[in-house]
Amino acid sequence: MSTKPTIASVVRSEWIKFRSVRSSVTGVVVTLLLTIGLGALITLAVRSHWSQTDAVRRATFDPVSTSLSGTLFAQFAVGVIGVLFITAEYSSGSIRTSLAAVPQRLHLVAAKALVVGLVVVVVAEVACFVTFLVGQSIFSGVVPTASLSNGAVLRSVIFAGLYLTLLSLVGMGLGLILRQSAASISVFTSLLLILPILTLLLPQSWQNAINRFEPSQLGQSMMSPTPTANTFGAWSAFLILALYTAGVVGVGAGMLERRDH
């Protein structure tokens, strides 16, 4: 029975930890509610105002990203899921017990990332497909709709879920770096909300060059079937956000590895 240690046993342990606290369960439910519920509300609002919508807006209207608008709110919920999975260990002090059980600290980080990533990817993909389908059925008959049989549309819906998944891992990485719930959630929120506002202070030409690198803008690019001016294509946006995520988690893991506990 006692065999070589595998990351699998640590993943099982982290999975038990994840599902046995209320905050994770709440986070998952809130992610579903925000994505699907707010998505439905927004698509309903678009439908009811469609007759007053001018021609220019109608021409640029994207039924895909509009139906996925709930992710703009759900992104904070998944961030908090990632943050709390780490910071709760620090606030309770159980990080010492965890590290005493798994002294290979990078295994612990990998296991935690796998658990958060797998849970969120499943939840977020379900949420995104449901909100897409609900949104299209609300639009149907009044507003132009999109279909999953179109490859670019399918990619956008899948990438919306991956966007949320990467953000939950960014939250986890911030938790590893800062070790404190409030600080980590503040920084996470700032990255998504304050950063775009700050760049407004820059000259327009700079904005055009910089804005597309912002996490929230990368998300928009990932969820749009067709790229708009001054933004990345979906795949580039995905890769850049994945790099950011790897960077934040990597720095967090490095700090965990070196720190006294």
Binding site: K17, S20, V21, G93, R96, A100
Partner: protein, 303 residues
């Protein structure tokens, strides 16, 4: 077996552990004593690989902790009983720990039973009393049936019944041949539980040995009393003896009972009491650590 060799740990400006060396042997309970802030918890964290040593090393069974593959099978530790996610049940906490080291799931039920918390196993840990938390911490330490056990101030917050239970548990664990290393700042507690004692102060080793050796090596005093108190006092004073009044008699520190008897005879004082007083372990400890108390209440500390 735990080996600490020239272990030093400096935080920014404090040296918490200073060139500390000792071995903790299996088969006995070893008490780890020192005043507040003397470096006991830091030493334990260094042994567990939680903190990085500035220099020197700490090993368990000859290996550094961080090289252990399934550490819970070799070392069990209780550092802080309250360091458990308050929203998780005791059972889930133990299950997660067991899973990480591939321990059989039935071990969870066994240690819950052993520590007497089966009936509250499914309650959230946040609702636990200090005593229940300590029992859960001990359950976690015993989970992997390890040969080495470390407990940092395990009796804190326990009632007399709980203290007695813990003391018996430690002794039976040691009798099974395990290494049991228990820290405390209370010598009186360790005197009842531990067979071997390691005393530190300001991060340095002060002394180590068995309880008997430590009390034997300590300076002993003699209580002496005479009907004619002032004649006795004069006799002691003329011989420049170190003594202090206590009750109706005196406590003499610098002479043994035989020498005091001779002195009294020479001075023509009839003694009514002459009792050697073996120092208690508590006094030995106070004596040993007097110079190294980090936070003393003396007014001088404020100057």
């Amino acid at each position: 077996m735990i080996s600490v060799v020239h272990l030093t740990k400096r935080f920014r400006k404090t040296t918490a552990v200073n060139d500390l060396s000792f071995d903790v042997r299996p088969g006995v309970v070893t008490g780890f004593l020192g005043p507040n802030g003397s470096g006991k918890s830091t030493t334990m964290r260094l042994i567990l690989g939680l903190d990085f040593a500035t220099s020197g090393s700490a090993t368990v069974n000859g290996k550094r902790y961080r090289e252990l593959v399934q550490p819970l099978r070799e070392v069990g530790a209780l550092l802080d009983a309250k360091a458990v996610h308050p929203g998780r049940s005791a059972r889930q906490h133990l299950r997660a720990l067991a899973a990480s080291n591939r321990l059989a799931a039935r071990r969870v039920d066994e240690v819950l039973e052993l520590t007497g918390i089966s009936s509250v196993a499914d309650k959230k840990v946040g609702t636990f009393s200090m005593g229940m938390s300590q029992r859960l911490g001990i359950a976690a330490a015993l989970l992997g049936d390890p040969g080495i056990l470390l407990f940092d101030e395990p009796v804190n917050g326990l009632d007399p019944e709980g203290i007695r239970w813990i003391r018996d548990l430690f002794q039976s664990l040691a009798r099974e041949g395990r290494t049991v290393f228990v820290s405390s700042h209370l010598m009186s507690e360790m005197a009842l539980t531990a067979e071997q004692i390691i005393v530190i102060g300001r991060g340095r080793l002060i002394t180590q040995g068995s309880v008997d050796e430590l009390t034997a090596g300590a300076k002993s005093e003699v209580y002496v009393r005479a009907r004619d108190t002032s004649a006795l006092e004069d006799a002691l004073r003329t011989r420049a003896v170190t003594f202090r009044p206590e009750g109706p008699g005196f406590v003499v520190a610098s002479l043994d009972a035989e020498a005091i008897g001779d002195l009294a005879l020479a001075a023509g004082v009839a003694l009514s009491t002459l009792t050697p007083q073996r120092a208690s372990l508590e006094e030995v400890f106070m004596d040993l650590t007097a110079d190294s108390v980090e936070y003393s209440a003396s007014p001088a500390a404020h100057s």
